[in-house]
């Protein structure tokens, strides 16, 4: 990818105030990563595009964007890191493992089809040892299990049962469900559709592929761009026929809404961005225009809400928290921690697993102080990590909302 299409690198405006250092979760737990100030604007003064990369620590940054959020000079630190990471990995070569981790959409449906067998294998300790030895995927990490019926399959059935409540296109919304919802956490998709329908919307599924964020996170700009080039025209069709789009995974959403245009320069991505919303942001907008179904049952539970990094980067506040506070009986608290440490594919890698866990420990401690029954989070990566760290029940907030509405 030619450098001209990348956004302007603005490392020049860094004043070395070290505010970014105060929030970086990685440099908090390991000295191997020099911290955002050094890794980004600091090292950039020494990098030359025609010289080989020597930043062997650069892939310790997993793009949580916390540094970007607090840099008052406006340095796009994680972007600088990502571009440097891409160059480094392009030169060094990427292991097959990274391909496996970033192309799960290719074999996801196979996983569902053979789920009883696959799930058993994924839990088998010898298999996990083998996977670690061959591919350096840490055996301590629980690999997500597959569901036998995909979300798409469920939706097809659901639609054919004549569940169309509204015919007019004015109340139609398109749903980007994401790979994980489709094959590993179908109930999130179900809950999304049920809640949207309960608010008078017909839900459609535009043709869609993986959003590409696993690839982007591993510095594979080409692969990520391919996904975007497929998705954007499909989304535009939906938008131009009158449907806005919602997403239930904040990572997918951030990718499409911001990275497609900024980093990947996908044509017309800006138009999509204007009509793409986080699911709870969409519901909050409904609430503000008095179109929100608040027929809630009582739900006497103590839950903790954890805001994913990509949700913070979306800059929409905490809409899930705002909405769920309306449910009678529900005691919901915001968990005071900044990053779960999963970092997408980061936490699966053997050489990164312990860092991921150390970061997660701080979150686990915060959860422990709160002692909730259930944890809620809008990102599948966070949900995986929190389950792994605490063993508690972890759900997407939409699942609780669905429970309050329909049952």
């Amino acid at each position: 990818m030619k450098k001209e299409t990348w956004p302007q690198n603005n490392f020049d405006v860094c004043i070395r105030c070290a505010t970014c250092m105060a929030v970086c979760p990685v440099s908090r737990v390991t000295p191997k990563f020099p911290g955002p100030k050094q890794a980004g604007p600091g090292a950039e003064r020494f990098r030359r595009p025609d010289e080989p990369s020597v930043d062997e620590w650069i892939d310790l940054c997993f793009g949580c964007h916390l540094c970007d959020m607090v840099c008052s000079s406006g340095v796009n630190i994680s972007e600088l890191n990502l571009i440097a990471k891409a160059k480094y990995l392009d030169e060094k070569g990427r292991p097959f493992r990274d391909w496996l981790l970033t192309h799960s959409y290719l074999y996801g449906r196979l996983g569902s089809f053979f789920s009883p067998l696959i799930n058993r294998l994924l839990r088998n300790s010898q298999i996990k040892w083998l996977v670690e030895t061959l591919f350096r995927i840490d055996r301590r990490r629980e690999l997500p299990g597959y569901e036998s019926s995909t979300f798409r399959q469920w939706f097809k059935e659901h639609h054919s049962k004549g569940n169309k409540k509204v015919v007019s296109t004015r109340n139609r919304v398109a749903y980007f469900y994401g790979c994980y919802t489709n094959t590993n956490e179908v109930d999130v998709g179900k809950a999304t559709v049920e809640v949207l329908e309960a608010n008078g919307f017909e839900v459609i599924l535009p043709p869609q592929r993986c959003c590409g964020i696993p690839m982007l996170g591993n510095g594979d700009f080409k692969g990520a761009r391919k996904m975007g080039l497929y998705n954007v025209p499909s989304f535009l069709n939906a938008i131009r026929s009158g449907s806005d789009i919602v997403f239930s995974s904040t990572s997918c959403g951030y990718m499409i809404k911001h990275e497609y245009s900024r980093l990947l320069s996908i044509p017309k991505a800006e138009e999509v961005s204007g009509h793409l919303h986080d699911l709870f942001e969409f519901l909050r907008n409904l609430k503000e225009s008095n179109g929100f179904n608040t027929n809630f049952k009582e739900l006497p539970r103590k839950v903790g809400y954890f805001a994913p990094c990509h949700l913070r980067a979306l800059g929409i506040g905490l809409p899930a928290l705002e909405i769920l506070r309306l449910i009678p009986g529900l005691k919901i608290d915001n968990i005071e921690a900044d990053c779960c440490g999963m970092g997408g594919t980061f936490g699966f890698k053997k050489e990164k697993y312990e860092i991921s866990q150390e970061i997660g420990k701080d979150l686990a401690e915060a959860i422990d102080r709160l002692k909730p029954e259930i944890i809620l989070s809008d990102c599948e990566g966070c949900r995986m990590q929190i389950r792994h760290l605490t063993g508690l029940k972890v759900l997407h907030p939409i699942q609780i909302l669905r429970d309050a509405l329909t049952r």
Partner: protein, 408 residues
């Protein structure tokens, strides 16, 4: 478009105070900002007016000050309301991690350069430093932590210093946040406590760089004191400021809990003006621009570091509302010929001029925007670096800007 009672622009201490004050009054508040202000840079303790003569009571000092400097932000607030503002701040920090003034006057605390600085409200973790005696204090540094040097501080304070080696950090650097995190672990504290105790030569106080844990610094302090049998205190160091972050985190958690919409990470790109009213603000998250409207707005965007004021090679401007600024005639007049002077550099006094209710006015004193108030260091006619008044101005004007706005 989302609508709020009040939008606070800026997430430094003045913005946070304004948001708190409004939220307490039941207002629907949005606070938007990029960065954490100077809290995590310079704010280790709460300066109110460090420049006052020693042993002058703060109340008397402030009363004198507002008479001598009628344009100063403190004069817009008044000594009584400054006190109320400080109380409001203090209410966020109930024991054990509370702030206190020693004898209602300024106290002197040691710094990372071995000097002493005057300040007013100090957290409980710094109280021991206010009475550093020669010969009774041990200063402790950490090998690999390059923003604090025990011998440097000790030599200047004329006491003893030691540098501890950290077991896992051989030949590596350790960042402030990593060391703070380690301090938060009981086993780590025990190890260093035992090690330091071995090296005590009868000292009764032990000074550390200001990173005694993020979430429960008092626990850290007490554990160390128990093991070593000596009083423990923290010393302000180079940025990032961990004590400042504690303040930020506390505000953040409180505001989110209270239902304030807390948008950290993006700056306001534009204000939507309609004559003398501000209708709303725009926030750009490329490629999307989102608008927010409100009845009232508080501008608390800080000075140059935070981008509240911008300077090209000719003049200074305020980028969001394009408010006129009180400033020196030309760039030549911004800074004096030497760095250290008896008088401050004139540029530090530049900023937004306001009427007594903290609303922005032009050179003739006419109100520019009827539903906008200004708070914090962006105000003109103060120079918080030399005065040692930064946090006091931020707290007092943040509090009052909200109060004034609510009266309308």
């Amino acid at each position: 478009m989302a609508h709020y009672d009040l939008i606070v622009i800026g997430m430094g201490l003045s913005g946070l105070m304004a948001a708190k004050t409004a939220a307490e009054a039941g207002q629907n508040v949005l606070i938007v900002g990029k960065g954490m202000g100077s809290l995590c840079l310079f704010s280790n303790s709460i300066d109110v007016l460090g420049q006052l003569p020693k042993t002058m009571r703060m109340r008397d000092g402030l009363s004198r000050w507002v008479k001598d400097y009628p344009e100063h932000p403190y004069s817009k607030v008044g000594p009584e309301r400054i006190e109320k503002a400080l109380s409001s701040f203090l209410s966020l920090f109930p024991p054990p991690y509370s702030f206190q003034a020693i004898g209602n006057e300024n106290c002197l605390i040691p710094t990372g350069a071995g000097t002493r600085r005057p300040t007013y409200l100090i957290p409980m973790t710094m109280v021991g430093g206010a009475s550093v005696d020669e010969g009774h204090t041990l200063i402790v540094g950490f090998k690999g932590f390059k923003d604090f040097y025990a011998h440097y501080v000790a030599d200047q304070l004329k006491c003893r210093g030691i540098t501890l080696s950290l077991p896992d950090v051989s030949n590596q650097e350790i960042t402030a946040t990593a060391l703070t995190r380690l301090m938060g672990k009981k086993s780590f504290r025990e190890n260093i406590g035992i090690e330091i105790k071995k090296q005590l030569h009868g000292e009764t106080r032990v000074g550390f760089p200001a990173l005694l844990g993020m979430n429960d610094p008092i626990q850290v302090k007490e554990d160390l004191e128990e093991i070593m049998g000596a009083e423990v205190f923290e010393i302000p160091i180079l940025p990032p400021s961990i004590p400042g972050m504690r303040i930020f985190n506390r505000f953040k958690d409180w505001l989110i809990q209270k239902g304030v919409t807390f948008l950290l990470g993006y700056s306001v790109s534009k204000a939507i003006l309609n004559g003398k009213r501000c209708e709303g603000i725009e926030v750009l998250r490329p490629p999307v621009t989102t608008s927010y409207s409100a009845d009232r707005f508080i501008l608390a965007t800080g000075r140059f570091i935070g981008g509240g004021l911008k300077a090209n090679d000719e003049k200074i401007s305020e980028p969001i509302f394009n408010l006129p600024l009180s400033q020196p005639q030309s760039r030549e007049g911004w800074f004096r010929k030497s760095f250290f002077n008896d008088l401050p550099h004139p540029i530090h006094q530049a900023g937004i001029s306001t009427d007594p209710s903290l609303q922005p006015v032009d050179e003739r004193g006419n109100l520019i925007l009827e539903n906008v108030w200004v708070a914090g260091s962006i105000l003109a006619h103060h120079q918080c670096i030399d005065e040692k008044s930064r946090e006091g101005i931020e707290i007092a004007t943040g509090y009052m800007a909200a109060k004034f706005a609510l009266e309308r």
